[in-house]
Amino acid sequence: MAIYIDQDTRVLVQGITGRQGSFHTAQMLEYGTKIVGGVSPGKGGQVVEGVPVFDSTFEALEKQSAEASILFMPAPFAKDAALEALDAGLKILVLIPESIALHDAMEIMSYARQNDAVVVGPNTFGLISSGSSKIGIMPHRYFIPGPVGVVSRSGTLCYEIVGNLTENKIGTTTVVGLGGDRVVGLHFIDVLKKFETDPATEAVILVGEIGGSSEEEAAAYISASMSKPVVAYLAGRSAPPGKRMGHAGAIIERGRGTFDSKVKALSEAGVKVADLPTAISPLIKAALGKA
C-alpha cells in the first residue's frame, strides 16, 4: 500500500518533448511508472522514449485514460498547461517548474479545489511510492519499499534523509515533496492525514523549514488526531531574518514562521525533532520499535 499513487496509476507527461521532460520520462519508465502518453502542443504524432505524444491533454485522454499528469515547462506556460489538465479531468497534478508567479499558482489551486484534484508543488521533486511508481525527478535508487512515510518541503535535503534511511536499511511507503514555494497545493496536514489511514505506513518523517505556518498547522493536527509516531527535521536554524534562503517559502518575516516556533509546536505535539539530518534514522528506528 501507499498513498496517492501506486503501480496502476496511469500518467501523462506534459512538456514531454523538452530536455527535462524526455530525460525524466525515461527515468520514470525505468522505475516502473505507467506513462501512457505525452503532451506537447504542436508536436503530436512524435514518440518520446516509446511514449506517444499528443497535441493536447484532451486528445491524449481520448486515446486512453489517465489519472495523473506531471508538468515540465518554463514557468510562464505552467498555468495554461495545469488548467488544461484539470479541465480535461486529471485528478493528480505534479508541478515541477519553479518560479511560477504567485497569482498563477493561486488560480491553479482554486481551480483544482473546484475539481477535487490534488496538486503537488509547484517547485517540487514530485512523489514516489517506493518500489511501484514515481511521478517526479528524484534519483530513484535511494527509494526502497518499507514502513516509513516521508513528507518534505525541500528536495535535496529529503534525498539526503532518505539516503541515510536506506543506508540503515529502512524503506519508505510514499515520499511526497510539497515544493518550496509560498503557494503550493498540498500541505503537511493533507499528507499526514493520508499516512494516518494508510495501513502500510507505521511511522512518518516530516522535513520542514523556516517560513510559513505549515509546520505549526501540522503540529495541531498531529496533537489532535494522529496515532502514528512522527519524527521531524527542520532546516533554517541559522538563517538570518528577512532573507530569502533559496526557497521563496523559507523567509522569516515579522517574527512568524521562525525555527523556534516550529520546534516548539512540533515538540509539544509529541513529535521528536532531530538536531541533525543524520539523527533521524535512530529516532525512526526507535519509533518503529527496532532500536
Partner: protein, 367 residues
C-alpha cells in the same frame, strides 16, 4: 520586489485610489520649491525600511525654509545601511481617522486575503488580533461589493465611511491582481474632509511575475556580491562567518549551514547553485565564493540532477586557473559519484561520504 512609497502611490493613482498631492525631489533646493508650491508639507524619506518614521525619516514643515532644513537633515540619515536618495514632499492632509487596509497572500489557504482594521497608523503587529478583520478572497470571483460591505460591518465603520470603502476596496484588489502584487498595504488609510486618502503605500511585486511588468523599475536591496550571484542565477546570501558553503538545493544548503553552527563553526554565506548546473555555472559559483576570501571552503553535494563529475571537473578547472589555496572539505555522493571522485583523486583531493563528517572537518579546519 518592494516598491518605494512614491512608486506605490503612482500605482494607487493609476487605479484611482486617492493619494496626497506630492513631488519627488532629489535635492534640498527642490524640497524648498515643492514646499513653496504645496504649502504645509510632510517630507518623507524614500527608503525601503518600514521603521523610517521611528528613525527620523519623516518630518513636517510649514515654510520652504523649514522644509529645506528638514530635507537636509533627512538626506544625512542612514536607514539600516541605506542612504536616502529621494524625498517625497507631500501636502499635509487633515486626518480625522486612520484605518488599516491591505491585500496580501495567505500561503496556507492559497488565496488572497483582505486585512482591515480601525486601528490604522500604528505598527501592524501591534494591532490586537480581534481588531484585525481577515477576509479571504476567492480569486475566481474576485473582490465583490458585498465582501467590502461585510468587511465594513465587521469593522464597525459608519455608513458614510462604508460607502467610500466599498468604492475603494475593489480598486485595490484590481491593482493587487493586475500588478502581480504579494502585498498592497495602506497604513494609514486616512479619512479627511475630502474623503479617504492613502497616506502611505507599501507595495511588493512578486519577483517571479516581473517579466509581465517590463515598465516597472527594478529595485534591489541586495549587496554587490548578491547582485553578481543573481546575474549568475545563483541563490546567494552573505553571512558573517568564515566557512564558505556551497551546496545544491535550498533545503540541504540551509541544513548544511545549521550543521556548521551545530559543530561550533560560522558560515560565511548561503550558496545554492541549484540542480543540474553545468561545469561553467559551477565554476562561476566557486570563483564567486573564493573571491569573498573565506578561511575554509565546504562543498556538500548530494547529486540528483546535479552530476558529481560535473562538480569535480569544475573544481579542478578553477583550481588550475585560479589556484585554490585555502583548505577544502568536500563531500560528494550521488549521480556519477565514482567518476567525480576519480577526477578529484587524480589531483590528490579526497572526499567525504557523509555530510556530517565533511561539516565537522570544515569546522576543525578553521581552528
Amino acid at each position: 520586489m518592494k516598491l518605494y512609497e512614491h512608486l506605490g502611490k503612482d500605482l494607487f493613482a493609476q487605479y484611482e485610489i486617492p493619494v496626497p498631492r506630492g513631488r519627488l525631489v532629489e535635492t534640498v533646493e527642490q524640497a524648498g520649491e515643492a514646499a513653496a508650491e504645496l504649502g504645509e508639507v510632510v517630507i518623507k524619506s524614500q527608503v525601503l525600511t518600514g521603521k523610517r518614521g521611528k528613525a527620523g525619516g519623516v518630518a513636517f514643515a510649514s515654510t520652504p525654509d523649514e522644509a529645506k532644513k528638514e530635507a537636509a537633515r533627512i538626506f544625512d540619515l542612514c536607514f539600516e545601511g541605506f542612504k536616502t536618495e529621494k524625498l517625497l514632499v507631500e501636502e499635509k492632509i487633515q486626518i480625522e481617522q486612520e484605518l488599516y487596509l491591505a491585500l496580501t497572500i495567505d500561503g496556507s489557504a492559497g488565496s488572497p486575503v483582505v486585512l482591515a482594521s480601525l486601528d490604522g497608523g500604528m505598527d501592524v503587529e501591534e494591532v490586537a488580533e480581534e481588531r484585525m478583520i481577515r477576509w479571504p478572497v476567492d480569486n475566481r470571483i474576485g473582490l465583490q461589493a458585498y465582501m467590502a460591505r461585510e468587511i465594513c460591518r465587521r469593522m464597525g465603520v459608519s455608513a458614510g465611511l462604508q460607502k467610500e470603502l466599498v468604492r475603494l476596496l475593489p480598486k485595490l484588489y484590481k491593482m493587487f491582481r493586475e500588478m502581480d502584487a504579494e502585498l498592497a498595504e495602506i497604513n494609514p488609510l486616512a479619512l479627511t474632509p475630502e474623503g479617504l486618502v492613502a497616506a502611505d503605500a507599501k507595495v511588493t511585486i512578486d519577483d517571479d511575475a516581473l517579466y509581465r511588468h517590463p515598465d516597472l523599475p527594478r529595485i534591489t536591496e541586495k549587496t554587490a556580491l548578491e547582485l553578481k550571484a543573481e546575474e549568475l542565477d545563483l541563490a546567494y546570501v552573505e553571512l558573517e562567518g568564515d566557512i564558505a558553503v556551497m551546496a545544491n538545493g535550498a533545503g540541504i544548503t540551509m541544513a548544511t549551514l545549521d550543521m556548521v553552527q551545530h559543530y561550533g563553526g560560522e558560515p560565511a554565506n548561503f550558496l545554492d547553485f541549484g540542480g543540474g548546473a553545468n561545469v561553467e555555472k559551477t565554476s562561476q559559483a566557486l570563483e564567486l565564493l573564493l573571491g569573498t576570501g573565506p578561511k575554509v571552503l565546504l562543498i556538500n553535494i548530494f547529486g540528483g540532477i546535479t552530476r558529481c563529475d560535473v562538480v569535480a571537473e569544475a573544481f579542478v578547472r578553477v583550481k588550475a586557473s585560479k589556484g585554490i589555496e585555502l583548505p577544502v572539505s568536500f563531500r560528494l555522493v550521488g549521480t556519477n559519484e565514482s567518476e567525480g571522485r576519480e577526477i578529484l583523486e587524480k589531483e590528490g583531493i579526497s572526499t567525504f561520504n557523509s555530510m556530517d563528517e565533511a561539516v565537522r572537518h570544515a569546522v576543525e579546519l578553521t581552528g
